[in-house]
Each structure stands twice: as structure tokens, then as C-alpha cells.
């Protein structure tokens, strides 16, 4: 199995990879900018075009990618552990459906005004995600069971329900609206102000610390609620707190980016292969790896296809799935 030294090696490698991507990616893009010119003077001169592109366009977008990738991967690890299901991802509890419903509703209603620095589409998407979480919890509370199966079934059911409503809105929308809806539903890390990114950073970092602090409890929970309880875990409290935290992180990201597929499913599994299933390592590596992975994918989307941008969700799946499957075939030992 994975020894401590191997875990540490993977962690160090991931940190290195993350730093390289974080600094390197904003330099790449349809316009070439040079590293030296960007950091020529501090603060950057107003006529320094390279620094302007770097700091006001690419860095906020890069940060958004990093935060979203980290949040998705972290939430994926947590949902897989708590629901004891390798197929669980941040969207298993209906967050994708709920936020899509919110966003599509805002577009259909023609709401363009913003509030507190966020657009109505973003705010509605967030509210939709929260609505789906509340529905899942209410269902679980009504039948007095927070077991994995209950949450899973409630989440999947609610997701389908909201997806049906999304299709209904889409069906009734005019051409401009349906284009806007499709664009949102595909997920993108479009240009965004640093302000919103900073607020998102507070949510993601706080969420990660809370979840990391429950690492040992998540190890025990993934072995079953009974065992966790006899080893001293207050299971209901840990399940509620971890799932709520992961859900809020996901909701906050999704409302800004749209549902970006596969990061939250694939990145945790890739790291399970390399660091095993000790959640303190798994959470840290997945967060950094997910951040780097999404930033890399986004850079590909905006750099190598001329002036058009590919939806980032397409790239994450097109790259992530073959990588995961390749690793599965090579390692073979997984999921016996």
C-alpha cells in the first residue's frame, strides 16, 4: 500500500505542479506576454500592457479556476467519503440542477440588474443551489435518516426534477435567451472582477480548513457509520457539518462558473490511486491538484483555439476521463 514517504512525495510533487501552473498559466494565452515585462516595476506602470493583461484579466480568471478546481475536488472527496460511494461528486446532492434552475430562471425572467457586485444570474444560481440543499435535508429530516442511501436518493431525485424545469425554461425561451442559457449550462470561467474572486476565496479557504479538520473522522465514516461511532465519532454531526460545508463551497463556485463537470469526480480518484484513502492527504492533494488541473484546462480553452473559447467543461472531461481510465488500467488494483 501507500507508505508515508510515498504520500509525502506525491504531496510535494502536487505543490510544485500547482505553483508552476499558478505562475505559468497566466503568461500563456492568445496574446503573448513576457514574465520579465510583467514584473518590471512594482506597482506596474499603467502603460505596461503585459502587466495589465496579467493582473486584470488573466490573474482573476486564473484565481477563479484555482478556487473552483480546489473546491470541486475537495467537495468530491467529502461526498464520496460520507456517501461511501465512488460515483459521488459535488453535484450528487442536486447542486448542479438547483443552480442551473436558478440561473436559467433569471435569464428567462430577463433579470439583468446586479446586487452587491454579483449579477442576478449568479445570485439566482446560488439561491437555486441552496434550495436544492434545503430540499435534500428536509427530505432526510422528515424521514429521520441521514444515511448515505437517503441522501443519495433524495439528491439524485431533486437533481432530475430541477433538470426537467431547466429543460422546460429552455424549451420556452427565445433565441437570445436560449443561447445565454446554454452558455451558462456549459460552464465557463469568463472574465470576472478580482472582488468577487476574493470573496469566493474566503468561502473556499474557510471550507477547506473545516473539512481538513475532519480528516480522521472522514476516514472512519468511509468505513461505515457504526464503526465511526464506536471509535468516537459523533456521526450525525460530522455528516451534517461536512456535507453542508462542501455543499456551500460548491454552490458558491457553481453560481459564478456554471456546473463544470468531472473535476470533482476525477481528481479525487486520481489521488486515491497515488496517496491512498487517508483523507488528510487526500483532501490536501486533491485541492491543489484540482486547482492546477482546472487552471490548466482553462488555459487550453482560451489559448489554442484562436479567438473562440471552448467551454472548459468539455476540456476537463476530454482530458480527465482518459487520464483516469489510463491510470485504472495501469494500476488495476483499484476498487477490488
Amino acid at each position: 500500500m501507500t507508505s508515508d514517504s510515498q504520500k509525502r512525495m506525491v504531496l510535494l510533487f502536487t505543490i510544485g505542479f500547482f505553483l508552476v501552473v499558478l505562475i505559468g498559466c497566466p503568461l500563456l494565452g492568445s496574446t503573448n506576454i513576457s514574465f520579465q515585462k510583467v514584473f518590471q516595476s512594482w506597482p506596474p506602470a499603467p502603460d505596461n500592457r503585459d502587466a495589465q493583461i496579467f493582473f486584470t484579466v488573466r490573474l482573476p480568471r486564473g484565481f477563479l479556476a484555482v478556487l473552483t478546481g480546489a473546491a470541486m475536488a475537495t467537495a468530491g472527496v467529502v461526498f464520496q467519503a460520507v456517501l461511501r460511494n465512488p460515483l459521488a461528486c459535488p453535484f450528487t446532492l442536486g447542486i448542479a440542477g438547483g443552480s442551473s434552475f436558478g440561473a436559467v430562471a433569471a435569464i428567462a425572467l430577463g433579470l439583468t440588474a446586479g446586487f452587491g457586485g454579483f449579477s442576478m444570474v449568479t445570485l439566482f444560481a446560488f439561491l437555486g443551489a441552496i434550495l436544492s440543499i434545503i430540499l435534500v435535508y428536509s427530505l432526510a429530516t422528515v424521514i429521520r435518516s441521514y444515511s448515505a442511501t437517503t441522501l443519495l436518493l433524495a439528491g439524485i431525485g431533486i437533481n432530475y426534477f430541477f433538470n426537467a424545469l431547466v429543460l422546460l425554461f429552455y424549451f420556452m425561451a427565445d433565441f437570445t435567451q436560449s443561447y445565454a442559457m446554454m452558455h451558462w449550462l456549459m460552464g465557463s470561467l469568463d472574465v470576472i472582477e478580482m472582488d468577487s474572486v476574493m470573496r469566493l476565496m474566503v468561502v473556499v479557504v474557510a471550507g477547506f480548513i473545516i473539512l481538513f479538520s475532519m480528516g480522521r473522522e472522514l476516514n472512519l465514516l468511509s468505513a461505515g457509520e457504526e464503526l465511526a461511532q464506536v471509535k468516537g465519532v459523533s456521526t450525525v454531526r460530522v455528516i451534517l457539518l461536512s456535507v453542508l460545508t462542501a455543499s456551500l463551497m460548491t454552490s458558491a463556485c457553481v453560481s459564478l462558473t456554471g456546473p463544470i463537470a468531472f473535476v470533482g469526480l476525477i481528481v479525487p480518484h486520481i489521488y486515491r490511486l497515488f496517496v491512498g484513502n487517508d483523507h488528510r492527504y487526500l483532501l490536501t492533494c486533491s485541492a491543489l491538484g484540482g486547482a492546477a488541473f482546472l487552471m490548466l484546462c482553462d488555459t487550453l480553452c482560451r489559448s489554442f483555439f484562436g479567438t473562440t473559447e471552448l467551454p472548459v467543461g468539455v476540456i476537463t472531461a476530454l482530458i480527465g476521463v482518459p487520464v483516469l481510465l489510463g491510470l485504472l488500467f495501469r494500476k488495476r488494483t483499484y476498487l477490488t
Binding site: A223, G232, T336
Partner: protein, 262 residues
């Protein structure tokens, strides 16, 4: 003060109308090496889960060191008592060491790493359970007998006063059954751990345990030393099978079952 005191305990599962356990009283004294014997469905596992605080009784109560079990915070409970389930499956595979280290959880604060002392407690637990050899292997790769020893070591890593074992020899071959009972006996003698073990093995229980409680259909039929309790008549009562006692040395005879009709 008894370690466990079970008073007038009644329990049934919500989905079943049939009573699992009715008005049971039992005292477990510190230093007991107690076996719960009885056929499938006699309520052995249910009683253990109630003692572990995993189930809430409809009536009566379970006291651990004089306090109602469900009133003790789970973390504190886990320092006094360790429970070993019949079997365990991990959705995401862990190494044997990681499974044993879980036993230290009740002693570790949120961000506190495992100390040298914790490690040596885990290593000693594995040594006592004959599990040190496969410390770096994956739990899922082990045989049934090895898994049981790892689960036992993980329980022992909690440094508990009392161990609750739910049919630890289920699906083990003869040699591993004997090995497991020898380990249990060693833990009791050398480590001073109180043990409550649910089992089907009449002969092994008679040979290795000090006190036996016979159960049938959610009620206790007999309670005492193996020599007193293990009689052909009592075994007929709980299992409905005629047995022939065989004296092969030792105080307790072995029991050979006859066919149901012969």
C-alpha cells in the same frame, strides 16, 4: 461497581413486530471473560449493540461504569469500550496500519498528529493480536482470520477497559478459531481487559471463557461458569439439538451433536 449493568432492557427493531429482546437484566463485572451463546436470532448481536450504545432501547437502560451509555459522549465511550463488528468492508481501501491507527481517534484532538506513543500503542496491539506481519498490506487483501485480528488490534488500540466482540470466529477455519480464542484469553489474562464475546462455538467457549450466558429468542436461559451452564439439557433448550457430552480432560465436556432425527 459492575462495569456494565443492564436493567430491564427491552428492544425491538422498528420494522419487525417480533420482540428481539425482552426485560433483560445482566451485570458484567470488571475482569469478566463472558460469552453470549445462543442460536441465530437469539439476540446476542442486538444485546452487544445495545451495550455499545449503537441502538437505543425502548425500555430499560444500559449503564457503563454507573452512567447511562447514551449519556456518555461518544469520544469518552470509545476510550472505555471497544466494539468489534462481525465484518467490515471499506468502500475505499485502507492499509492495515491505517485501520489500526483509527483506534487512536478518541485520544487525538482535531489537528493533532499521531505521536510516537500512539504508534507504539498500535504496534503493541498488533503484536498482541498476531497482526504485525501484515501491517503494510491492504485490509481488503487479507484472509478472514487476518481481518478479524486486525479489527481486534484496532479495537485494542483504543486501550479500552472492555472489549465487545460480535461473533469474531464467524466463517473462520478451525485453526483460526482457536488462534482467535487464544488471543482473547491472552488479552484477558495479560492485559486485564474485560471481554464480552458473542459466539456460536459451544466447545471453544467452554474451553476458553470463564462465564457463559445462554440466550434463546431474546431471553436469557442460563448464566454461570461453563461447567455449570454447559449441559446437554441446556444446549437442547437453546438449540433444539440433542448432544452427547464427551469428557476429554478439563472440567468442561465437549459436546457432539446428534442428528435431529436420529
Amino acid at each position: 461497581m459492575p462495569l456494565f449493568e443492564i436493567q430491564n432492557l427491552s428492544f425491538h427493531y422498528p420494522s419487525l413486530s417480533k420482540f428481539e429482546l425482552h426485560q433483560t437484566d445482566l451485570k458484567v463485572e470488571p475482569g469478566d471473560l463472558l460469552g453470549l451463546l445462543g442460536p441465530n436470532g437469539a439476540g446476542k448481536s442486538t444485546l452487544l449493540k445495545l451495550m455499545a450504545g449503537l441502538l437505543t432501547p425502548q425500555e430499560g437502560r444500559v449503564l457503563l461504569n454507573g452512567q447511562p451509555i447514551r449519556a456518555i459522549p461518544v469520544r469518552e465511550r470509545a476510550k472505555i469500550m471497544a466494539y468489534v463488528p462481525q465484518s467490515l468492508h471499506f468502500t475505499f481501501p485502507l492499509s492495515v496500519w491505517e485501520v489500526v491507527e483509527m483506534g487512536r481517534h478518541p485520544y487525538l484532538a482535531r489537528f493533532q498528529p499521531v505521536s510516537h506513543k500512539d504508534r507504539s500503542i498500535c504496534e503493541r496491539a498488533m503484536e498482541l493480536c498476531d497482526a504485525l506481519d501484515f501491517k503494510d498490506r491492504r485490509y481488503e487483501e487479507l484472509s478472514g482470520g487476518e481481518r478479524q485480528r486486525v479489527l481486534l488490534a484496532s479495537a485494542l488500540a483504543q486501550t479500552p477497559q472492555v472489549l465487545l466482540l460480535d461473533e469474531p470466529t464467524l466463517s473462520l477455519d478451525l485453526a483460526h478459531q482457536i488462534l482467535l480464542f487464544e488471543i482473547i484469553q491472552k488479552l484477558h489474562r495479560e492485559e486485564g481487559v474485560t471481554v464480552v464475546v458473542a459466539t456460536h462455538e459451544i466447545n471453544l467457549a467452554g474451553r476458553y471463557l470463564d462465564r457463559l450466558v445462554l440466550m434463546r429468542e431474546g431471553a436469557m436461559v442460563a448464566d454461570g461458569t461453563p461447567a455449570k451452564v454447559l449441559t446437554a439439557k441446556n444446549i437442547k433448550t437453546i438449540h433444539g439439538v440433542d448432544v452427547t457430552p464427551l469428557k476429554v480432560g478439563g472440567k468442561v465436556p465437549y459436546f457432539v451433536p446428534k442428528g435431529r432425527r436420529s
